[in-house]
Symmetry: C2
Subunit: 117 residues, 2 copies
DNA sequence: GTAACGTACAACCACATGGTTGTAAATAGC
DNA sequence: GCTATTTACAACCATGTGGTTGTACGTTAC
């Protein structure tokens, strides 16, 4: 599990987060478990693939910190982790800020350029 | 190339965007080309891998709409696409909103519950 | 014109990924 | 206690991914 909630993320952690989000089934699992927790077998019932396949998808999401799993009797209850979503948002924000800064530099360049002649 | 800039994204398009972001070299290419455009060979010079490997990474990013390429003489100039970043941000926002709505429902439930006895 | 540069693309390889089936173990229900 | 349910996990398979090298082609510079 990922412990860092405020610190920088390693490349591997970022890889896992985006990799986990790069599959429609996994995104749907995130969506469902953010809306309300669900057992692995409840999730498996929602998709036309084997239980084991869904189990693997949940494991990938858990490895990325996008969901957490806790035991309840013989079930494992899966819950979406909004913190991981926010971490990903901050990453994308950083990229947009790089672009915004570039535009800012261009604007400053234009402003600072005195009229020619 | 992706034409949809305001419309809904298909699952495949979303897959490609997150897949493209799930690699540290590709994220670095996005970072560099958002800060300022660069030719493929300039990019290739920045990494300890073959030109062809970097070329493939650029192709993956282009397929996801995260960068665009335009010819300039014998070079191909790569430029980061801030719109694609914003599309990804909107996707993550939607997931966070699902969670926010769930918490809102829980709060409303608590507020609406009359004191017992 | 020729040589160097920048790119494109195919072929190949090792390994990861997304799916399957099968087996085993823990828990719940009767 | 027995049976059904739920999960875990291994083994396997087809395909995708990230890297390589090699070859070909357009463009630039001299």
């Amino acid at each position: 599990m990922v412990v860092n909630s405020s610190a920088e993320l390693t490349d591997d952690e970022v890889d896992r987060i985006f990799r986990a989000l790069a599959d429609a089934t996994r995104r749907d699992i995130v969506r469902r478990t953010l809306a309300g927790e669900a057992s692995v077998s409840e999730l498996a019932g929602a998709y036309s693939m084997s239980f084991a396949a869904v189990q693997k998808h949940v494991a990938v999401l858990e490895g990325a910190g996008l969901v957490t799993k806790r035991p309840r009797g013989r079930e494992r209850v899966v819950r979406g982790n909004p913190d991981a979503i926010r971490r990903a948002q901050r990453l994308l924000d950083a990229y947009e800020q790089i672009w915004v800064a570039r535009i800012g530099r261009l604007d400053a360049l234009l402003d600072d350029t005195p009229p020619q002649q």
